[in-house]
Structure formats: C-alpha cells, structure tokens
C-alpha cells in the first residue's frame, strides 16, 4: 500500500498531509518532487495545499504544467485515486482533471477558519468513511476557493451526483452551489478546498478530517 504526496515548489501542506497519512497507514508516504518525470507506481496520489509557484498567475496554474503532472494525469486516467486539497484542487482544475475553476474569493480576502460542511457522494476512496448528508467541520485557508463553472457543467455535476462536499453553514467564498469539493465522472479524482489534515487530531480542535485518511486506508486495504 503506497501513497504519493506530490511536492511542488511552494507546497506547504505536504508535511501536514504526510503526518496524517503516516498515522493512518502506519508508514510514511512517498514524497514525489515536481520535477520528476517518473512517478513510482503508487496506489493513491495526494496533491497537497500551499502556494505552488507562489500562486502566481492563477492558483495552481503553473504547477499543473510541471513534469510530474503528466504522470499524475496518466495515473488518474488509469483509475488511481487522486485527491487534491486546496491548492491541489486548483491544480486539478487547471490540469483539466476536474471541471471548472477556483476563482478569487468573493470577499477578496484570504479566509482561514473552520467551516461547516455537508457530505455528498461518498462512493470514492477518500470519503467512504463518512455518510451522505453527514455534517462535519473542516478548516479552509485560501484566497481562491470560489468555485465557478458554466451552467451545463454545474447541471452535470448535480445530475451525476459529483458534488462531494458543500458548505453548509454559510458560503465563505461565493462558490456556486456551495461547492466545497467535487469528483470526476469516474469517481477516482477528488478535489476539495477544506483541509482535512488540519482537523484530524483532537488537540488541534477536532477529528472530523481524519475520515479522509481512514477512507483511504479502508479502500486500499480492500483492493
């Protein structure tokens, strides 16, 4: 069971995710450097949060073009579970693995706070430890989390049950349909703005985020 965390220049939640993965998996993940052309064969991939390339131009834009992303896209197309958290979500939309874009927050300010979320579709490797309709808390910390897509795409996301997380206690950033997280059609690629790794330990204020890592362990354990 091996999981890769992709490290871009400017990623800054890579260690935090690795800590949670190590706790859940019982072994540390592989930290894969952006410049590498060959990603080792892994069972799952996580794109962590941060400010890859300083978030210059657009959040995630430059990272989505880095060499290793070719490998990530290929793996995703093979069905390997891929999770993008925050900046990782932005990279997934910029690379075309997920539809839509994450625009500047409607309040034009960076927001760091715990938000209430409602879980949607849980039929995937990262959310199956939760129940549909469950209300959970996770922190957000971003400048660009305002999910936007054209009307057809939004309709498709709804029709195909691809919204995996929605803001449930007020919309912090202007995201359409209160979208906090979505998946691709196949269900193996997930993007979410909230940071599960920041609320996965009681002493840090809660454990609601741990389900993401527990889900992965369950899934990989099963397969």
């Amino acid at each position: 069971m091996s999981v890769a965390v992709i490290v871009f220049p400017g990623s800054n939640c890579d260690r935090d995710v690795a800590v949670c993965l190590a706790a859940a998996l019982g072994e540390p993940p592989i930290m894969a450097w952006h410049g590498d052309h060959n990603l080792p064969k892994v069972d799952a991939i996580i794109l962590p949060g941060g400010f890859s390339y300083g978030d210059y131009l657009r959040g995630g834009a430059i990272a989505s073009k880095s060499p290793i992303m070719g490998e990530v896209i290929e793996a995703a197309n093979r069905g390997v579970p891929v999770l993008g958290i925050c900046n990782g979500f932005q990279i997934l939309t910029e690379s075309g693995l997920l539809p839509g874009v994450l625009m500047r927050n409607s309040g034009l300010k960076f927001i760091c706070r715990d938000v209430a979320l409602e879980v949607g579709n849980t039929d995937n490797a990262f959310l199956n430890a939760y129940q549909r309709g469950q209300h959970i808390t996770m922190p957000i910390a971003h400048n660009e989390g305002n999910y936007f897509a054209d009307a057809d795409t939004l309709q498709r996301l709804e029709d195909e049950d691809r919204i995996v997380l929605r803001y449930a206690g007020g919309n912090p950033n202007g995201a359409q349909l209160n979208i906090a997280g979505i998946r691709n059609k196949a269900g193996n690629v997930i993007g979410m703005m909230p940071h599960p790794e920041r609320l996965a330990e009681a002493v840090l204020g809660g454990e609601d985020g741990r389900g993401v890592f527990d889900s992965l362990v369950q899934t990989l354990g099963r397969s």
Binding site: P9, G10, G49, F51, G54, K109, C112
Partner: protein
C-alpha cells in the same frame, strides 16, 4: 574637491546621507582621507541609527540578557533559548514601520519576510509568526486603508511561505496617525547542535551570495528608517521593496538543506543595508577582512553601480561563508531550488572591506570603524512628570454596569480581532493548539508533547503616562498571558518604537521604558534575548506614544495539560486571583467611556505579587485544579469575564455586589487572573498558603452573563457586540 561649489555639494551629499558633520569628520579620520561616494554610502548605512543603535546602545546594554535557558542573547540575527531535549527556540521581533506607512501591503509583507530570514539564517525552521500593529485613530482618513493593506501584506507573505501567523495585537491611537507601527515576530525551532552564527572565519574562505537577484530596491531603506517624516513624505515615496514569498520559501528550504551538512562557516541574511551590513557584520565579528568582487553579484537590472549594489535592499537574499571546497555541493542545492548562487569574494586577513568592481578597487574601508565606530550617544533625557491619582469618587459614572460593558466590548481597542486573524493562515504546519483569540498562542513542538506559548503585548497609553511602569507592565503582561495557558515563560524579544531621541523628553521615555522592562525581566527571571529599536517615529515634531512591544515565549512540557480561557462547563467557581485595587487611572473605561481629559497614572505592577500570583496559577493548572484561566488586562475584570464567556460555551452568574462598582469592574490593576475551578475545590486554602489573594466572584452557568441584581446579557449579545465592530468598521465607506 577643487572649488568651493564642489565643497558645498559634497557637504550637502554628506547631509543627505544622514551624517552629522562631526560624524563625517570621524569617518575621514578613520579613513585617513576623504571617502568616495561609495564609501560614504557604506559608512552612512552602517552608522545609521537603524544599524548602529547609536542612541540606544548605551541603554540596551543595561538589560538582563542571560539566564539558565539562554543559549544566545542579543547580538546575533536572533536570540536562542534551550527548550530541553536538545531543542532550541530561536526568535526575534522587528519593525517595518516606515515602509508600511508608505506602502502598507509590501511594507508589511517584506517585514514578515525579513524577520523570518533572521530566524532561519540561524538554522531554525520558522514555526510561528506574530505581529504587533498600531494604527492611527479609527476616524483618521488613512487608518482603514493602512490597516487593510498591512493585514493583507502580513497574510500574503506568511500564508504563502506556509508559516502560521498565530497571534499579535492591534491598537488604535491618534499618536500613530502619521506613523503606524508594524512589528513582526518570528519563532523558529532548531536543534542545539545545529545553530548557525554570523561570525566568519578562515582566511581564503569563499563568500557566497544566494537567493534572489539584486535590483535597485529600497536603496537607503536603513537611513529612511532613521529619519522623521514631514508632510512631503507622501510625495517623496522612496523606492519600496516588493516581497517574493515564493522565493523566500525556496530559500528557506535550500538553506535548511545545506545546513544539514557542515559546509557553512557563517551565514547572515541581507536585511537593511543589504550586502553592506551582512558582509561587514560577518567579517567584523570574525575579526577578519573581506574582499568582494561585485562583478559576480547576480543583478536583475543593468548598469548597476557599486554604490547601488552595496546598498540595495532587494529581498530574499543571504550571504554565507563556506568551508573552502564545498562550493559545488552548495551550488547544487541552490540551483535545484531555482535560486541564484554566486561566489562573490573571499575572506582576507586585512580587517578591511575591499570592494572591486569592473576590475578596479572602488572602496577600501577599515572594518572595525564601520561595524563599531559609530559614535555612541548618551542623549540627554528628562523623565516624564508623574501624574496625580484619579479617584473613583471624584468621577461621574454612567448608570448601568451592564450597558457599559456592552459598549466597551465594541470599542476599537477591545473589539475582537477576528477580522484580522482570519486573513492569516494560523493552522498550517499542523501544530497550532491554541489559535489566535486567546491569551497566548500555543504551538506544539513538532513530534513532541511540548508546546511553545507565545504572546505579544504593550500598553502604550501606560508607557506614555509613566514610561517606567509601562515598561514593566509590557513585560509582565506577556508573562501573564503565557502563564494563563499553563506554560512557563522563558524569555522575551522586543521592538522599541519611539519618537525622536534627540528630544530629551522622548529619550526620557526610552530610558524609563528600558528601566521598567529591566525591572520586570529581573524580577520574573525573564531575560531579553533579541530585539530591535525603531526611533524617529514622529511627524511634524509629534512623537508616537512610546511603544516597547514585547514578544514573550514560554514552554509547557505537556500540551495536554494546557488550558484555555473559555468557560465550557457549568457549575465552575470563578475566582479573581490578585487584589481588587480599583485603579482607574489610564483605563480604557476612563479614556473611552468617561472620555476623561486627564487619564491619571497607569496601574503600577507589583512585581512580587506578579510572580507569586503567576506561579500560583501555573502550579494549579499543572495539577489540574484550574479548568480555565484568563489574565485581566485592557478593560479590567468584567471585560475579562465576558471574554471567558464569549470564547467558551456557557455563561456566568456574578455573586458579588462590590462597592465602587465601576472601579471594581473596569479598573486595570495588574498581576491578576480569572480562574475557573471545580465547585468545592480547595483553591482558597491553597491560595492562602501561597500568600495569594483570591476572591470568588461568579459561577459558570446558563447562557447569559447575569449580575448579582439579576440583570443579564446573553452570550449572543455579548458576542455580537464584540465581533461586530471591526468588520463593520472595515466595511464602512471611506
């Protein structure tokens, strides 16, 4: 200097560099000849107030700087304390006041970048940032713009680099209308056997430049930071530096990677006065000489002169002395992180700084005088006259305590700062145990049970009224905030912001504050390990309130025994620890509710009681007698109680009906805490034994704050008032 006109021009040039005639004569004496323009520039920045501390050094030398935990006191890039298990905490606070007034976003951002470099240049990974901010009156037309810009600049830099900003303070006062204060603090962690210093050694060792390229950024920032503003400052708009947090993140990772080897002899960030001060400091500390060839300096712009390269304050750069032969190993690391790497010189045995440019020697100066030759000034100082006591009986108070409390919670200096800290990533790195909003922030030492407690404090209106008491109070308040979490306060850093030291009353404020700080440091065994001085914070001859911002750091061995301020359980007894002295002088109540002209003297800090009360509280937290604790500061007892209610989940019912109730509830006596203990605890007996005054004032209950006469206010109403002011203020049209 052939003609008289040339002489006049040169004199003007000397003055423009902020040097007095006497200082210039000294320089000529050290040089043995007239310096050229490049040399003049180098001397002027090294001898500026900012770099030489010429007005303050005499007094800084009196501070307590040693103690059991101190590994490195003032004099290095940052101070270092031992936190056990072979680990060290490295921290410092620094001002970026002038640049932030001119360009709030970039000024604040580069301030954060600069202080982080001071910390990681010593081998520490930064783990927490703090910021102490002062703005002009909320009515001043620039306040909103400056506050918005500063906060987003601090967030913009810290969030990007991925170091949590876990706390700080924000005050408003008209004395800062033309001179805001932006003081940034950074705390890092290192292992005690891997701490890096600036002292260069080894003649022939290569001097290496890493990081960003050099441009014409902020030339003369150091002299700007030592000059007063006048009404034209807005128009002059000297070049401001732009920060690049992304590059700093790469620089941080690359430096830490190289530091894991033993290739580095000395390292120093290029801060104020850039290449000049970093090379002078490294070489003079090692009592060697240095030869730099500017042709190798990576430049962003064309045709840069030696003067410009030496004085540029381009950000995100470091200077290192490597062990000979280790260059290629180091270069590989920096290149992989996409950073510039260049060998730009070597150490010599000349004790001189020699600069080559385009094949010629363009400057040749003695290092000793550059580093330590600036005249030390013992500036005349007069004490601030004491103020007459204010008696509660002589004042006309409002009718209702409850209504007054509600008003107070929404005052600019007491309202919640959520609007500020929600713009800061305060959770990244996954170790923030107590987030902003409480007394001290708690940041776990990664991978251990230990946590650092960090707080910044100063009450400038106290310092203005009585510098000595104000200096004491600032130190004591950080100590108290740290204590209230259960942690042991260990050491402080400081950032001393004052007006023009050439005015004896300002110098008197400076001296008074230092003496007060020192008294507190000694009484509390709480040494100063680093700091920064920012003088000339004045506009048109009017100085700011004296503002010695203190950043304190403490340690708790097991974070699981730390507590917060919030009331989360019903039926707890709430005690006041410390005396109910009813001191109204300099209180927020007196200033903002009674709008008194004469604020009287500030509360004095009884340092014996401070120590006794604090040690008592900390011990009772450690043995789990206390469930919640909060120190009593701005706004007094009732504000502190309301804060415990708002930050928890239950209310409280007050059981006392004191005489002189306004003074009782809103007086700002020092050395006090509110603690919540399980009903029936023996806290009163324990306190009696320890010689600590305690008095039960309330019980946690329900969802309201209820007074003894039955009047009550809901938690929601308290919270709405407290949380409402700042978003409302910042959202108002200009």
């Amino acid at each position: 200097m052939s003609t008289e006109a040339d002489t006049d021009n040169w004199k003007a040039m000397v003055a423009e560099h902020g040097l007095s005639e006497d200082e210039y004569d000294l320089i000529v004496g050290h040089m043995g000849r007239t310096p050229n323009l490049t040399e003049l520039g180098v001397f002027s920045v090294m001898w500026s107030e900012h770099c030489s501390y010429k007005s303050s050094r005499k007094w800084l030398g009196t501070l307590l700087t040693s103690g059991d935990c101190v590994i490195q006191g003032p004099g290095e890039n940052a101070g270092v304390i031992d936190i056990g298990d072979g680990q060290a905490a490295i921290f410092k606070m620094e001002s970026h006041n002038h640049p932030s007034f001119i360009e709030p976003y970039q000024g604040a951002a580069t301030g954060v970048g600069g202080i982080m470099r001071d910390v990681f240049t010593m081998g520490a990974r930064p783990v927490a940032n703090m910021n102490a901010l002062r703005f002009g009156s909320p009515d001043h037309p620039k306040t909103r713009h400056l506050l918005a810009g500063v906060v987003s600049g601090i967030g913009g830099y810290g969030n990007c680099i991925g170091v949590p900003t876990v706390g700080g303070e924000v005050n408003f006062d008209a004395s800062y209308n033309g001179n805001i204060l932006v003081n940034a603090m950074c705390v890092g962690l290192a292992t005690t056997d891997k701490i890096f210093y600036a002292k260069a050694s080894g003649v022939g060792s290569p001097v290496v430049y890493v990081g960003s390229k050099t441009g014409r950024d902020g030339i003369h920032g150091a002299t700007m930071a030592s000059a007063e503003f006048d009404d034209d400052s807005d128009e002059k708009r000297p070049t401001v530096q732009v920060g690049d947090p992304f590059t700093e993140k790469l620089l941080l990772e690359a430096c830490l990677e190289l530091m894991a080897s033993d290739a580095i002899i000395a390292i120093q960030d290029m801060g104020a006065a850039g290449l000049t001060s970093s090379s002078v400091e490294m070489a003079s500390k090692g009592e060697v000489g240095i030869l730099l060839d500017l042709d190798h300096v990576p430049c962003r712009e064309t045709a840069m002169t030696a003067y410009e390269m030496l004085l540029s304050e381009s950000q995100e750069r470091m200077l290192m002395v490597l062990k000979p032969g280790r260059e290629s190993e180091a270069e590989k690391i920096f290149t992989r992180w996409g950073l510039d790497f260049a060998v730009i010189g070597e150490l010599t045995d000349s004790q001189r700084m020699v600069i080559k440019h385009q094949g010629e020697i363009v400057a040749d100066m003695p290092l000793g005088p550059l580093a330590d030759g600036a005249p030390l000034y013992d500036r005349p100082h007069v004490p601030t006259p004491p103020r007459a006591e204010i008696r509660s009986d002589d004042l006309i108070h409002p009718n209702s305590i409850a209504e007054t409390l509600v008003t107070m919670l929404g005052l600019p200096d007491l309202a919640s700062r959520r609007w500020v800290w929600e713009q800061y990533d305060h959770m990244v790195m996954g170790d923030t145990i107590a987030r902003p909003g409480g007394d001290a922030a708690l940041v776990r030492v990664h991978g251990t049970q230990k946590a650092l407690a960090i707080a910044t404090d100063v009450t400038p209106r106290y310092c203005y009224a009585d510098p000595f008491e104000g200096g004491k109070q600032a130190v004591a308040e950080t100590w108290r905030n740290i204590t209230a979490t259960g942690a042991q306060p260990l050491a402080i850093t400081n950032c001393l912001n004052f007006g023009n030291p050439q005015r004896p009353e300002i110098m008197g404020q400076f001296v008074g504050c230092i003496q007060g700080m020192d008294a507190a440091c000694r009484a509390l065994n709480y040494p100063v390990i680093s700091g920064n001085v920012s003088l000339y914070n004045e506009t048109n001859g009017k100085g700011i309130h004296p503002t010695p911002a203190i950043g304190g750091v403490g340690l708790i061995d097991d974070y699981r025994s730390a507590i917060g301020a919030g009331l989360t359980e019903e039926g707890l007894d709430i005690y006041l620890v410390g005396d109910d002295g009813r001191h109204l002088g300099c209180s927020i109540y007196l200033r903002d509710i009674l709008k008194a002209e004469d604020l009287g003297p500030p509360p004095s800090v009884d340092l014996d009681a401070e120590l006794r009360n604090g040690n008592f509280v900390r011990a009772a937290i450690a043995d789990r007698t206390i469930c919640a604790a909060h120190d009593v500061s701005d706004g007094g007892l009732l504000v502190a109680l309301a804060e415990m209610i708002m930050s928890g989940s239950v209310g409280a019912t007050i059981s006392v009906a004191p005489d002189a109730p306004f003074a009782f509830w809103f007086g700002e006596d020092q050395g006090r805490y509110l603690i919540a203990v399980k009903a029936g605890s023996d806290i009163a007996a324990l306190a009696g034994k320890a010689g600590v005054a305690v008095q039960k004032i309330a019980q946690s209950l329900g969802r309201e704050l209820t007074f003894a006469d039955g009047v009550s206010i809901s938690r929601e109403d308290l919270g709405a008032q407290h949380e409402g002011w700042m978003p409302d203020f910042m959202g108002r049209p200009d």
